[in-house]
Symmetry: C2
Subunit: 294 residues, 2 copies
């Protein structure tokens, strides 16, 4: 299959759909609205929503049913980036090739825009016109992955590790699994739940998600060292600058790439419960994650 076209088409779909989930323009305080809108339209890869749609199709579902959870997940991912970029946090001025929200608007608006997006994700999921029980299962999956048992915990640990040279591999894996892994896994799984996958199928998707999630972050660490700033669209070398312990610290660039490839193999292996044609995109995405340059 032509992965590039697939990703372009699916990104176009998400780009088009996600802005429909903005609430009406408010009478006052529209700076907040503008910041939220800006954050949604500046060019992300839309990896998580794409995984969600593909997860739905893997179990034989119609991907269009998964658009709402896909967009909700992308809102959550986007909020996390807005907060991660804040001066008190990573203090980044550039993201996805554009000024970060706090840098373009202001810190107050950025804090609130992040809050608004996290909240909006749950508004959207609540209002989603779909089977009640499925919605609740999807919300359980997503909310558990994004919160203090998942992404937010991972971010706390990541910040705690900053400047420390005594971060163990165990701790580093914990950081990666939570900060990035949980939401990536939830993306695929939420898609599978939406597509009415059975227990075995959902667990297979979970294994796949866990594998590519870890691989994704390992490659993120690799690209921070060897990546092209223009392609990446964000400041390169920032990990080293902050004396941050990463996967590259433990394995070196080549060792890290090898580890990422192993994780991807495990992930693809997990998909063997599905008919090959139903999971071709997921397989190709897994390979892309280790081969990507941005």
């Amino acid at each position: 299959m032509d992965l590039k076209s697939y990703l372009v088409e699916r990104k176009k779909l998400i780009d088009k759909e996600i802005v429909k989930y903005l609430p009406p323009f408010p009478e006052f305080g529209f700076r907040l609205y503008e910041a939220v809108k800006y954050s949604l339209i500046v060019g992300g890869k839309r990896l998580r929503p794409i995984l969600c749609l593909a997860g739905c199709e893997a179990v034989g579902g119609n991907y269009r049913n998964a658009v709402t959870p896909a967009c909700a997940i992308e809102m959550i991912h986007t909020y996390s980036l807005i907060h991660d970029d804040l001066p008190a946090m990573d203090n980044d001025t550039l993201r996805r090739g554009h000024p970060t929200v706090w840098y373009k608007f202001d810190e107050v608006t950025a804090i609130l825009a992040g809050d608004a997006l996290l909240n909006r994700a749950f508004e959207v999921l609540s209002e989603w016109d779909f089977d009640c029980k499925v919605k609740i299962e999807v919300m359980k999956e997503i909310s558990k992955a994004s919160g203090m048992l998942g992404m937010v915990l991972g971010q706390q640990c990541d910040m705690d590790a900053e400047g420390r040279s005594d971060v163990s591999l165990e701790e580093l894996l914990f950081i990666h699994r939570h900060k990035t892994g949980r939401l990536i896994t939830a993306s695929v799984v939420a898609g599978g739940i939406t597509g009415l996958g059975n227990g075995e199928e959902i667990e297979a998707l979970r294994k796949y998600g866990d594998g590519i999630g870890l691989a994704f972050q390992i490659i993120d660490d690799v690209l921070d060292v060897v990546g092209d700033q223009e392609k990446l669209g964000k400041n390169v070398g920032s990990d080293a600058e902050k004396g941050k312990v990463t996967f590259v610290t433990f394995y070196g660039v080549d060792g890290a790439k090898k580890k990422a490839r192993e994780e991807v193999e495990k992930a693809v292996e997990a998909l063997s419960v599905f008919p090959a044609d139903k999971v071709e995109p997921l397989v190709e995405i897994a390979k892309f994650i280790v081969e990507r340059e941005y």
Copy 2:
């Protein structure tokens, strides 16, 4: 009825229950957990959860069924305070008689603790063992009130208004209705939905909530001018210090108190659809809101 005992008993219940909604203690990053726990146990009035339980009882429901949404709402209220106190926002060091979360821990942990709490509220609501359709209706109500159509929008507008002397009464009402009003209304309404109230009952609770919500904020503005810092547990005179336009600016202290009383009368009037014994607590709370000193 003895409102004081009622509030003390209900607060005790919420204080006891809310900590049960904390997730398990994590292997790493427990500073986040500690900050979240701290924020939940330092002495709030628990007004919103108390309103939620009372709203449930107003429609003839069992208040124990409303404990989960009540605690979720209090988590959302608590997160909003953590973020409001941040250096970039109101920069407060004291809240509820105790150091604010950023001041006690650090700014990073406070940003994340707020995020964690907002997220946790939706985890808790998703996992709530209750009728699926009711859960969804409750989540719609709460999430709409807390986000960029509600509380977060109100906070943006409040920050936009800071330092400006040209804030109109219309804008000020917008701020109050969103920043504080929406979540207070949602508290009562969520309780009513949990108790399986009918359309007329829910609308009556909504009117009540809107009325006391506005009254509450008016009195908040009054107390910022004339309150006792020790009783309030937070910095007094901070509005004036920041040159903030408040309800007192337009109406003076006495005029503002009068307006608050009018709103409370309307709120109590709305409760006439209910048997008097079922809404006695709500009526007494409404009166308390205008008579309180903290």
